[in-house]
Symmetry: D2
Subunit: 429 residues, 4 copies
């Protein structure tokens, strides 16, 4: 193991930097998927893409058809394999890689999320990716949550399985999931049945808490349930000087709605969240705005807190804000993640599994995620089927918080994460 | 006159439709200006463009350099004369056309505004320009205020001057002004000195009130003074689930600011207006928005009401809203128009001037504009220099209000307007 | 006339100061009415009070029964004539005084409003009533709109009629109207028929504009139509620490409603107003507020602007704000005044009537009221019956604006106002 | 013990009902204190009152001097002992009762809070106190948090100490604390030194969670730190029709502030709360409100969350809301409670102490308080001095939540609570 990890490390760094430099957001990970496919096909995995791995009707929060077309055009121009593009056509991004050792054993499913964020990456001398020249070359997009690393880790684990294919037992599925941001990609994979016969499920995240290299976290709790909502307000335009009273102001409806949503009263039953992430309204300075749209999300420490309290409050406020300004509204739920829990038994299991490692210095039994993660759909599915499901954290110092333009992590976390997962695999042999 | 008007009418319609089909917004009227130049150069006018006619530092509300470049690229691709483009480079659009009869007489300055609006034009069977195939072929832009007609009228008047150049006395300046929307183009023309030696100034508007064809309005009052303001809020992004408290929310600052601005208390001294026309904020759903920008405008029945009350209230509210959310703000005044008045004497003058017309059926002495118009800078300048300055309205039924996607007027107003202006010219001989 | 005015002046000052020192708000003017009755009964007028002069069902904005009882108790303790109190029982305040000369002639109705405001009067050395010891001795109440003066003027005019009873022709009705503030007292007097056979109606106001002593304003326009609205919100209380999510917050509904009401978009058709004058909500700091109440008013330059725009907008916003916070609401219209106009003929009439006066220096033909005045109900009634109806202003410098704790006027306006009215009476002989 | 508990039960019920029927809010518990004094003086305790037990300068949230005077007048009229009233003069309510056995042993301090709430008690057939005729006879006030029971329990414990005075060791201090609501009474008792030499401190609460009779909770966590804030806004009044622009609107400042305060972003570090409990603004419908006041509170799961986040956010928003409306503000902190923790050792101690009881059926080791409790000042003080400090809960079903007009509990909890405390006393012998 030590030797494998040592050897794979430069590859992990190279992959991570390649993915980092070309960030793609949810449902547009054409180039990313194609690159993963190229790498993993070298390793004797069976690769499936497109409609074979995603339920078409539960992919939430899709781009518009125009945007999809433009993104596919871009992928084409980037020179990816046309066959891949053909399979992914219509925003069916992501990848399933499957390897059967032919020997009896567990079916272990590992999940790695691959999408980036619509953030402008920092370009200053304090930002490692910029200094080392692998910062985003797509303006407006950034891997600011570490999924570039997750993708690299997945490829590292694939190498391990490949190298040890004659010793390992059972079957392995690696899911390179699109659209984790916004809680969009996990559900259609679950709905397509990819988790149906999993005995073991494992996923995880680098960072989250700022820890030391060598720290890993065996299990995670406080997955916030989350709902992603798009809101449109439709008013009536009018000349703001000549006849303002003739307008019905969609901008003000959205503004009012934002303030009132942010003021949803705290719940004594546990943590909740609300964020209006984007608001766009109006067409010109001297025209009463006849259109506004908002992207927002609610969260709750439990699925109940989120769905029975936050979402219901939000829905009422969105409607009432329309009434305030006499406009109409259209509300769409475009993403969702439940809350989830890791089984306690994993703490001992992981302690045992990694005890021989000299790289892994410290196993923290449990830390909170404190965020939403649609891996929760997979954790839930596998547990409900009687399987073992876990979500780990891989410690690294963080240059800035997740989703921040200066977000960055220590690349030494990559081999640690690969080793942790590989040792868990060995633990299930 | 009757014959001239009859002959010129098809030309007016053709020009109007040409301009209507290719709308360009403030400071990007490259193609429009080039077309005007082509037409007017045939008529022996001296044409000046670019820095010769606009004070470079008082052009407010310019696009960004990137946008300007993109628009110039577009103009290039549209195939306009490169020499024109060279002159206009850097958002110096618009045109001055000058004709000196060589005979003593008044210097008459006529002003026609040429810019369009960022509105999606209606495409339905009730919309005349759509039915007749001359609707906007630039998605997102529309001549929804009649400036396409104004431009055509200007060309019609130029033809009249040209045809009568051996009979007319004095000098004529036709200003084809860019950027009337937002109150941006008149001031730099005034500041460049184009009105300095005007004896007579005349401008006007088609529509405003829904009247009959044949009605004209001799003078206008209630020019609302106006100030156009751009506001930016700068906050701090953070993950909305993991550490919302670390963010500083620019979106909510803009939303709060919108509501509070709209609630500026009415002033007992006369009409005021406030409109937040556009608001854009945030980069992603699960990120605390670190940036927001708004375009807004204030108006007042007098320059004092606008500048001493509305603008001051707005400034305080904009700042206080930043403090509410602990964000910083940047405020820029990007357009301005004073209030103005027409001299009473014009009522009799115009009645006298048009009395021989069979097309002009009815002269209404005075109607309110009820909006802002940066021609007010020119009216003010000429009056202060002791000249005669007037602003007329040319009656037409309106399919919908100004700035509405279904805005349209009866093209029969065009020859009426040309005739009115020409008869005023004759009146000053 | 000059002699009468000179003689009556000390009486006017005395009366004004007496009324000023004992302010009573709408429907509680028991002591004020009783004092008027005492004065006027000395002058051979027939006095009517109580249900004889007010329609019981159109008295809007009454105090609660408890409050009425408390106020009647106070009046009792103040020692007023029990017979008067008996007539006024149940908030039937105000007075009609009638004098018939027995000779043919016009029936002239004069109206004087008598109520005060819930304002704490200034007590400082710059405030004339305080310095001269006749400031309010009822904490929380103040004659801050000049109705103390109006009442004194009414008594002065009564003296004039009494002194000249053998010379004058026709009949005279003096209405001492309760509850002008809030637009509450005029309508029930009209509905009771008190204006039905009026040939001439005259009322007026001291102040409004800060003018010189000796200036009078012949006619008034811009009576703002007005509607007075009470709003209650009913939510659900809950412990703000233990279970805030169980509450439904009436305080926040009222707060939201206040902001959104204040933001009703301006109307291009003319002046409008909105004011949320009072808001009370909540019972304790750590309890989610289950109750809130607001007193507000809308106004418009025309009855249509007020009732078809402002009131409708307000109603929608009040309801929508309830929906925002999931509370219920109760809305009650408690006062109303239409807009009104004075006949143009009055300008000449008044100029003629006062031309002999040495005290009245200057007749301004018309000034705007710019406020609401329920005398408008009376003006409208009389005009509709074919009578002559007018509303004058009596000039005085003002120490501070109406309804301000430092409001005060120059007492020299009192004889000027009496003289103006008496001269109008003579004009109709 | 069983016999004592059986005998004391009717007394507990009687006392509870007596206190329930005469609720007094913070710093006005004159009659309540006097009744306690009467009862406890029969039992050989040394009683101290007034300035001897409360630091005069750290009593926060006092009524105004006028109110204090009125309340003392009321207490006088209620016929309480004048000597007591003399001691309490100036809002020094509450009581310390001290008993020294003369034998060596621990100094045990027990604390019972005695104040009521400004809530209208329910008067319907489902409300036990109403049905049994002991509901509040002070309209607007109610024991809606169980402090009536706490007071009765304190007297019950005093009886136990008295009866066993020859067997018990050590010293006993019973603190009957005023002003727990609003976090006002504990700190001045601590600051006066009453906890300085305590070896053991115990307090507790009935209810909080709806449990069965016979359930007790050994220790409590999640004391929310809390800060109580009063806010005033000072604007400028003006006539809302004539010159609304001259006003500066304190009502709208308070309304805006309420909404923005309620929208303070959630903190990822733990539970927080904000409540604007009361808002009063404005003096009349047609006057721009020149004054507003609000009572609010913030809370946090830790003192840091409350004081370093919620209070700082609130302060900024309160100031910025003043700037929004150009008014000035006055902010006063009128109450405060830190967070606190019970020592873990108490769980075993209490299990041991009550194991012989037949009435106490079930000991729950720990439940959250989820609210603020100024006993936290005492817990903290005693722990910092090296003492043992605990806060228990005594289970009862609840008819409605705390601070609700229908709040009620099962009176059988009273003897259970007395027994629990007495058994703890015995445990420390």
């Amino acid at each position: 193991m030590e030797a494998f990890i040592k050897d794979i490390t430069p590859y992990l760094t190279k992959m991570r930097r390649m993915f980092h430099a070309y960030p793609e957001v949810a449902w547009t990970e054409y180039v990313t998927t194609a690159k993963i496919a190229e790498e993993i096909e070298k390793l004797d995995f069976e690769v499936e893409m497109g409609q074979a791995i995603l339920h078409p009707h539960t992919r939430m929060g899709l781009p518009t058809e125009d945007q999809i077309e433009k993104e596919e055009q871009r992928a084409m121009e980037a020179g990816i394999n046309k066959a891949y593009l053909y399979l992914m056509k219509g925003a069916f991004t992501g990848l399933k890689a499957y390897f059967d050792t032919g020997r009896k054993g567990k079916h272990i499913v590992l999940r790695f999320d691959i999408d980036a964020l619509p953030i402008n990456e920092a370009e200053d001398e304090a930002h490692f990716p910029f200094v080392h020249g692998f910062h985003s070359n797509r303006a407006g997009y950034m891997h600011a949550c570490g999924h570039d690393g997750h993708t690299a880790i997945g490829l590292g684990v694939a190498h391990f399985i490949h190298e040890n294919r004659h010793q390992l037992n059972g079957r392995f599925t690696l899911l390179f999931q699109p659209g984790e941001e916004g809680g969009r990609g996990a559900k259609p994979m679950v709905d397509k049945g990819l988790l149906d016969d999993a005995d073991v499920f494992l996923s995880g995240h680098i960072g989250i808490h700022s820890l030391n290299i060598g720290d890993i976290v065996a299990t995670t709790d406080q997955f916030l349930a989350s709902t992603k909502i798009n809101v449109e307000y439709f008013g009536k335009s009018a000349h703001a000087g000549l006849e303002p009273n003739e307008g019905r102001n969609a901008l003000l409806a959205a503004a009012a709605s934002s303030l009132h949503l942010n003021g949803i009263t705290r719940h004594a039953g546990g943590a909740t969240r609300i964020n209006i992430g984007t608001l766009e309204a109006g067409s010109g300075r001297n025209i009463i705005a006849d259109y506004a749209k908002m992207q927002l999300e609610t969260r709750g420490a439990s699925t109940e807190l989120n769905e029975e309290y936050m979402v219901l409050e939000a829905m009422r406020i969105i409607q009432a804000s329309a009434a305030l300004y006499d406009v109409t509204t259209n509300v769409e739920i475009v993403g969702q993640a439940p809350s989830a829990e890791c089984q306690e038994e994993w703490v001992d299991f992981i302690n045992e599994a990694v005890k021989a490692s000299t790289n892994i210095k410290n196993v923290i039994p449990k830390l909170p995620l404190g965020a939403s993660e649609d891996a929760a759909f997979m954790l839930e599915k596998v547990r409900n089927n009687g399987g073992a499901a876990n979500y780990m954290l891989f410690g690294t110092p963080l240059a800035a918080g997740h989703h921040h333009p200066c977000f960055d992590y220590d690349e030494e976390v990559l081999p640690i994460a690969v080793e942790s997962i590989c040792r868990v695999i060995l633990g299930w042999q």
